[in-house]
C-alpha cells in the first residue's frame, strides 16, 4: 500500500516470527529486530521453511519464496529500524519493557513511522503514554500462529489519532489480514473470553467433573469447535496460561481470570503442554504450526 513499504518487527519469538512472515509474504520489506543472533537465525529459518512449504502446496509461485526472503532482514541493531514506516512490537508482556523499547524507537525512527503493539493484555493507552508518540501508536493483536490466522484485533488508545488508526487498518488489510475493531480494554475480545474459559476448564478438572479427554470430546462434539479446550491449552502451555491469567487478573480482578492452582502444580511438575511432551494429554511431537 502507498506510504508503507518497510515494516519492522521487534522480537523474533513465535509471535514476532509469525507477524514478520505475514508482512514479508505480503511483499513488504521486513526488518526483524532481536537482541540475539541465534534467535534471528532461527526466525529466518522458520520463515524460509514456511514459505517453501507454501510453494510446495501451490499457495506461492515457484521461486517466490526465495524472492520474498530477499526482502527479509534480521538485525540486532536498533538503528536499522530507522528505515521502517511501521514498527510492530512483539516483546515480553511488561509495560516498562515496552515503554523502554518505544522510547528508543522514538529517538531513532522518522516522524512518520507508526508504532503498533501486539500486546494481548496491556492497555494500548498506557503503552502509548510512554512511547514518545502517543498519537501514532495503536494495538494490533495477531493470533497465534500469525502466519496462518487472519484475525487481528485492532484497538485505538485514548490518544491514538484517527489517521493513525485508519492507516494501520489499511496496512493490516494490505497484509491480507482481517482486522476487527475492539475497545482498549484488557484482553480485547479474544483473550477476555479465552483466558477465563480456559481457567474454567482447568478448574473443572481439578473439581473432578470430568477427565480432559472427555471434556475435549464433549466440547468438539456439542459445539463444533475444531480443538478441545485442553488440546488448545496444551499448545498455549501452562507457563503462558499462568502469565496471561496473572496479567488479566491483575488488570480486572475478574475471579474467573485468576490462575487456577492446577496450573501452578503442572508447572511444578514440568508438564507444560506440547513443548514438554505432556500436559493434559501426552505427545510424541512438538513441531509448531506450519513448520
Amino acid at each position: 500500500m502507498s506510504g508503507i513499504k518497510t515494516v519492522g518487527v521487534v522480537g523474533s519469538g513465535t509471535m514476532g516470527t509469525g507477524i514478520a512472515i505475514v508482512a514479508v509474504r505480503a511483499g513488504f520489506r521486513t526488518i526483524v529486530l532481536d537482541t540475539r543472533e541465534d534467535a534471528l537465525e532461527h526466525a529466518r529459518g522458520q520463515a524460509a521453511a514456511f514459505l517453501a512449504k507454501s510453494v510446495a502446496r501451490g499457495k506461492l509461485k515457484e521461486g517466490r519464496d526465495v524472492e520474498l526472503m530477499q526482502q527479509w532482514k534480521g538485525t540486532t541493531s536498533m538503528r536499522d529500524m530507522a528505515e521502517c514506516d511501521v514498527v510492530i512490537e512483539a516483546v515480553f508482556e511488561d509495560l516498562k519493557v515496552k515503554h523502554d523499547l518505544f522510547s528508543k524507537l522514538d529517538e531513532i525512527c522518522p516522524e512518520h513511522t507508526l508504532f503498533a503493539s501486539n500486546t494481548s493484555t496491556i492497555s494500548i493507552t498506557e503503552i502509548a503514554g510512554g512511547s514518545g508518540r502517543p498519537d501514532r501508536l495503536a494495538g494490533m493483536h495477531f493470533c497465534l500462529p500469525a502466519q496462518l490466522m487472519k484475525l487481528v484485533e485492532m484497538s485505538a488508545g485514548l490518544t491514538t489519532s484517527e489517521e493513525t488508526f485508519s492507516t494501520l487498518w489499511r496496512f493490516c488489510e494490505a497484509m491480507g489480514q482481517k482486522p476487527v475493531r475492539t475497545r482498549d480494554t484488557p484482553g480485547f475480545i479474544l483473550n477476555y473470553f479465552l483466558i477465563p474459559w480456559h481457567n474454567d476448564v482447568i478448574n473443572m478438572i481439578d473439581q473432578g467433573v470430568a477427565d480432559p479427554a472427555d471434556i475435549d470430546i464433549a466440547v468438539k462434539t456439542a459445539l463444533g469447535y475444531p480443538l478441545g479446550p485442553l488440546e488448545l491449552l496444551d499448545m498455549v502451555g501452562m507457563d503462558t496460561q499462568k502469565l496471561l491469567s496473572e496479567a488479566m487478573h491483575g488488570l480486572t480482578n475478574e475471579p474467573r481470570a485468576a490462575c487456577p492452582p492446577l496450573v501452578k502444580r503442572m508447572i511444578g511438575a514440568g508438564t507444560l503442554g506440547r513443548k514438554t511432551g505432556a500436559g493434559f494429554h501426552t505427545y510424541e511431537s512438538n513441531k509448531i504450526f506450519g513448520a
Partner: protein, 217 residues
C-alpha cells in the same frame, strides 16, 4: 445384550425417532428411561431394574443423585442427556453421568449402546450442568454483558471468536438463533444450584425471558 426403552413423558434427548430408539428390544437386559419424568420412572421400576446390566436415566437439569442417592445406590445406574442448545436439534453428544459407586461395567455397556447408534459419549461425574452447560453458560453471560458494555459490535465479537478460535458460530448469533430465553432458563437454574455469580443471567437473557413469557401467556 440389548436394552428396553421405558418412555416417561416427552424426551429432550430423543424427541422423535432415532437409531438408538429403533435398536431397543423388549428382550433387552438393560433399561433406558427417557423423558422428563425418567427419574420418577426409575423409582417405580427400581425392583425390576436390579438385575439389569445397566439402567440409564435421562436427566434434565437435575443431578443423578436426586434419583438414586448420593453416597450409596445401585451400581448399575447411570444418568444421561444429549446436549442441545435451545431450539436446536439434540447434538450427537451424550453426557453419561456416573456416581462414585457406579460399576465400570455398567458405564461401558451404556457407552457401547449409545455409540452403536452413532452417538458420541463423554463420561462425567454428577455435577450441576455436567460438562457443557457448566462451561458455556458463564462464557455466554460474559459475551452478553460485554455486548452491553460496548466492547465491540455483536458482529465483530462473533467474527473475532470465529476467526480467532475457529468456532463455527459466534456466541451472540448462536444465542439469538437458538432462543436467548432458553439460555436464561438454564443459567438461572445453574446459578441457583451453584450460587456462583458468572452463572447469574445476563441482562439481555433476563429481558428475553420476560418477553418470551409475556408473548406466550
Amino acid at each position: 445384550m440389548g436394552y428396553q426403552i421405558i418412555q416417561c413423558g416427552d424426551s429432550s434427548s430423543f424427541p422423535y425417532s432415532h437409531a438408538f430408539l429403533e435398536a431397543a428390544s423388549e428382550q433387552g437386559d438393560s433399561l433406558v428411561l427417557i423423558g422428563r419424568d425418567a427419574g420418577s420412572g426409575w423409582l417405580e421400576s427400581a425392583a425390576a431394574s436390579e438385575s439389569a446390566v445397566f439402567v440409564a436415566i435421562e436427566l434434565g437439569m437435575e443431578c443423578l443423585g436426586e434419583h438414586i442417592g448420593e453416597d450409596d445406590g445401585p451400581a448399575n445406574a447411570v444418568g444421561f442427556a444429549r446436549f442441545r442448545l435451545g431450539d436446536d436439534e439434540p447434538t450427537k453428544l451424550v453426557e453419561l453421568v456416573k456416581k462414585p459407586y457406579t460399576d465400570d461395567s455398567a458405564i461401558q455397556a451404556a457407552r457401547a449402546a449409545f455409540e452403536a447408534a452413532g452417538l458420541v459419549v463423554a463420561v462425567c461425574n454428577d455435577f450441576p450442568g455436567r460438562i457443557i452447560n457448566r462451561l458455556v453458560r458463564p462464557y455466554y453471560n460474559a459475551a452478553l454483558r460485554r455486548l452491553d458494555e460496548g466492547l465491540a459490535s455483536a458482529a465483530d465479537m462473533d467474527k473475532t471468536l470465529c476467526l480467532g478460535l475457529g468456532y463455527p458460530e459466534g456466541p451472540i448469533s448462536l444465542l439469538n438463533r437458538t432462543g436467548l430465553h432458553h439460555h436464561y432458563a438454564v443459567t438461572q437454574a445453574l446459578y441457583e444450584a451453584l450460587g456462583q455469580e458468572p452463572y447469574a443471567p445476563a441482562r439481555r437473557a433476563r429481558v428475553a425471558w420476560v418477553r418470551h413469557n409475556r408473548e406466550n401467556t
